[in-house]
Amino acid sequence: MQSQRKTHVSTTVNGEPREFLCEPHQVLSDVLRNTLNLTGTKEGCNTGDCGACSVLLDGTLVCSCLVLAAEVEGKGVVTVEGIGEEGKLHPIQQKLLEHAGLQCGICTPGIVIASRALLEKNPDPSETEVRYWLAGNLCRCTGYDKIIRAVLDAGAVMRGQ
């Protein structure tokens, strides 16, 4: 069952160099949460269907439950813990709070990451574009309304409007 040798991985997480040992079958969300103690990344399904585990891998939005941990060798991972600065929230985080865009909050880290990836690519998305971009991030509590408003509003703030 368990392999004899673990894989050694050197990577960058939220701008900091990190090294870890993992089993060949271990997925990134597991290592982030249980080896590196970055439990901000959530797991709602482990099958790529809910988006709670969203992270950025070299700037690309991925489900970390579908990425093998060994694959991040030499790459850069950004998790929710890496969004915003100490004492200053990122506009997406701030707007989610102001719009009450979270109830239970379990989907929120994934929404923060996915929205950041969106606004980086498309600083002025339409409501429909936000809805389609976030279609892979399930939220069972809010009905999405306040999340969508928060993301649109954060886009405006980031554009300096």
Binding site: G44, L97, C139, G143
Partner: protein, 771 residues
């Protein structure tokens, strides 16, 4: 017992950022699976591969040979439930209806039921060991269809279930645990008086609450035998009660800490993993972590009941309802749980009608035991009642809201169960909806509009709260209700209102069962009303104490000291009610702020704290209305929800943004239930869609914005007029959506969900003129 209901507020009704919010947007907040402790091992459940079977033997020997396997367990490690009853929040529960859901005893009654568990040093090893546990079954015929299960000659799930509610009591067991009927007036006379009678039968499938966070817990035991449970739950005290009952361990040995909770909607009002982890931890002497997979969550937790409802409504030509008859058959899965009660009692509670007969039966089938899902038991029959009401209004050529206004209950009307309504907001909700621009917006060809209203009773129950003042005058509020949707913010707002201090200076926390008095679960729409009631009470006690301390400092009588604007003020004969801090200071009145009094607490009698214990008997019903516009693609059967509006009476919205959130979230859950969500079982009685790919909940691109209108008709029994808001939002969406879709498509589908293939077939049938 009307009391003075406050209507002018300084803090209540504002929208501050929730105190737990920053930790949730930065990933700091810790949920069930986010705790890892030293020495921890991992539990894994062995689940039944059969929908119905006898457990002949369980052999752990191969599993135990694996190095790193440290404990095993089965129902043999738990006490026999016998006929023990456990006091619950609203109703007492028979232990034998939930202990076997934690761990099956002698028999399995649904695919995926827990039969054994193992604990090992890694999750992979525990899973491997679970595969090596040999369970010998004698497979029995399973019954998935509730009509078949209800028949007298059906194979029995339990040999000790006798239908309750039948007189005389039956002498032979059946698969129908409960039958209930209520009636008022004379139903045949009511139908005889009617000019139009419409009768239809609607089916609503079993669905899941669909919270994104799977169940998870960590159990640790200490050297004194104390058992520490960390888990994702709607009620830490409930976990304590139920885990003690299932394991047979004294309640006094448990401390339960509720993690942040990633959604519940009623589905986390019970225990699944916790008693198992307790036994594994005690047997291994190690902390045990257990986390469900999404597959486990779908197969073995929740779901909400399926139901078939026949409804027959009679009306006069001028639109007065003369008779309402409902007959509900509700599929409750393998163990009795009574969602039928609310379904029978309240399905037509929105309407004034002299002749009502409501009848319902619960049926047991080889499916997971159902649990609460927002207003449990109500959405299923309400679909039938509201769709028929819409059909009647159409046939009478009346506006559906006018028709409802004509028949709506109001203060003084008596419900079919004999309880009179106090002040209620149904008429205001209907009027607001009628005045909303959405209601009169034009529809294009191929589009349809539906409206529906619903009632929910709301719960009260028991809560406690503690308020502690720090030396600097900042305030901590402790309660025991897990915060699912912003309740800490509401607690802080209510305390700020009483104490007259800025809401930001108040720190509300949800604490463990050792640190605050008992609280019933976060459920029944009760937290803002009941736990909020406890917070208000504790804050009032604290204010009295603060006045007493100030009076002592000034050598005055307490009656000569008032508390206003967050400080004690010595009455000086001026009009106190008009006073604020600046006035008092400029006039030179004596004042002491909360910080002043906190600094001098030691000298005036010791730390400033207050405790309240509260049994809320002041719950009041809520009404909600939805307007839905839908469009149907006649080529594919796909439905687009074009516009959606929710109107709801909240009594008083303490934090309006989170009231809107409940309305929007409930509406979208209902939209999902109407259009997509259903449990699909195969021939073997296995769930065929136990994942979010095949059990499709609404995603962002499926939906428009969800507009909200909060109506505030204060609950006359609550100091701030609160009613409770969390549950009723799920009742109106299904009939609003079904009506809109049927109108858009020119169909009359009564079998939910209105999934594309079903809708397409109905459209084709309608076009061929066969429908």
């Amino acid at each position: 017992m009307n009391m003075n209901v406050k209507t002018e507020f300084k803090y209540v009704g504002t929208r501050p950022i929730r105190p737990d919010g920053p930790d949730k947007v930065t990933g700091r907040a810790r949920y069930g699976a986010d705790l890892n402790v030293q020495g921890m091992i991992y539990g894994h459940i062995v689940r039944s591969p059969h929908a119905h079977a006898k457990i002949k033997s369980i052999d752990f020997s191969a599993a135990c040979k694996l190095p790193g396997v440290l404990a095993t367990m089965s129902a043999d490690d738990l006490p026999e439930p016998g006929d023990r009853k456990i006091p619950g929040g609203e109703v007492e529960m028979a232990l034998k209806t939930f202990s076997p859901v934690v761990m099956a005893r002698k028999k399995v009654l649904y695919h995926g039921q827990a039969v054994a568990a193992v604990a090992a040093t890694s999750p992979e090893l525990a899973a491997e060991a679970a595969r090596l546990v040999k369970v010998e079954y004698e497979v029995l015929p399973h019954i998935m269809d509730m009509h078949a299960a209800a028949r007298a000659d059906a194979p029995l799930l339990h040999d000790d279930v006798y239908t309750q509610g039948v007189d005389p009591a039956p002498t032979t067991p059946s698969n129908i645990p409960t039958q209930i009927e209520i009636s008022t007036g004379d139903i045949s006379k009511g139908f005889a008086e009617a000019d139009l009678v419409v009768e239809r039968t609607y089916f609503v499938p079993m669905c899941h609450q669909g919270y994104i966070e799977p169940h998870a817990c960590v159990v640790q035991t200490d050297e004194n035998g104390k058992v520490d449970i960390w888990c994702s739950t709607q009620g830490a005290f409930m976990v304590r009660t139920l885990t003690a009952a299932v394991t047979g361990i004294d309640i006094g040995r448990f401390k339960v800490t509720a993690s942040e909770i990633g959604g519940g909607f009623g589905g986390k009002t019970t225990v699944y993993l916790e008693p198992v982890a307790v036994v594994l931890s005690l047997k291994s002497g190690r902390p045990v972590k257990m986390v469900m997979s999404r597959d486990d969550v779908f197969r073995a937790t929740g779901p909400a009941a399926a139901a078939e409802t026949r409804v027959k409504i009679g009306v006069t030509r001028d639109g007065r309802i003369t008779a309402i008859e409902t007959d509900i058959l509700m599929d409750c899965g393998a163990y009795t749980s009574h969602p039928i009660m609310a379904g029978v009692l309240f399905n037509s509670a929105c309407y004034r009608c002299e002749n009502v007969r409501s009848f319902g039966r619960e049926v047991l089938t080889n499916k997971p035991r159902v649990y609460a899902y927002r207003a449990p038991g109500i959405p299923q029959p309400v679909v039938a009642v509201e769709c028929v009401v819409n059909e009647i209004a159409e046939r009478l050529n009346m506006d559906p809201i006018d028709f409802r206004l004509l028949n709506a209950v109001d203060e003084g009307d008596v419900m079919a169960i004999g309880i009179p309504f106090q002040a209620i907001g149904l008429k205001q909700v209907l009027q607001e909806a009628k005045a909303h621009p959405h209601y009169t917006a034009e529809l294009k060809a191929g589009q349809g509009r539906g409206v529906a209203v619903a009632f929910w009773i709301n719960a009260g129950m028991q809560s406690s709260a503690t308020i502690n003042v720090s030396e600097d005058g900042s305030v901590n509020i402790l309660t025991g209700n897990p915060d699912i949707g912003g309740s800490r913010a509401s607690m802080a707002l209510m305390a700020a209102e009483v104490l007259g201090i800025p809401v930001e200076t108040i720190r509300p926390s949800v604490v463990d069962t050792d640190s605050v008095g008992f609280c019933d679960v976060t459920g029944g729409s009760r937290t803002t009303l009941a736990t909020g009631g406890a917070v208000i009470k504790a804050a009032e006690t604290l204010v009295k104490e603060l006045r007493k301390r100030a009076a002592a400092i000034w050598s005055l009588d307490i009656e000569e000291v008032d508390w206003t604007g967050g400080m004690a003020v010595a009455k000086s004969g001026t009009g106190l009610e008009n006073m604020n801090r600046e006035d008092a200071a400029t006039r030179g009145d004596k004042t002491l702020t909360l910080a002043d009094l906190a600094a001098r607490a030691g000298a005036t009698g010791g730390p400033l704290c207050a405790v309240a214990s509260h049994n809320a008997h002041n719950a009041a019903p809520s009404f909600a209305l939805n307007i839905c516009d839908a469009q149907v693609d006649r080529e594919t059967g796909k439905v687009d929800i074009l516009r959606y509006t929710c109107v709801q009476d909240a009594g008083k919205a303490i934090h309006p943004a989170y009231v809107e959130g409940q309305m929007q979230g409930g509406a979208v859950q209902g939209i999902g239930w109407a259009l997509n969500e259903e449990y699909i079982f195969n021939e073997q009685g296995r769930l065929d869609n136990p994942g979010f790919l095949d059990y499709r909940i609404p995603v962002a691109s499926d939906l428009p914005m969800i507009d909200t209108v909060i109506v505030e008709v204060p609950n006359p029994l609550h100091p701030y007029g609160v009613r409770g808001v969390g549950e009723v939002p799920i009742a109106p969406p299904m009939p609003a959506v079904v009506t809109a879709v049927n109108r858009a498509a020119g169909t009359r589908l009564c079998h939910l969900p209105l999934s594309p293939p079903k809708l397409l077939a109905a459209i084709e049938a309608a076009e061929a003129g066969t429908a």
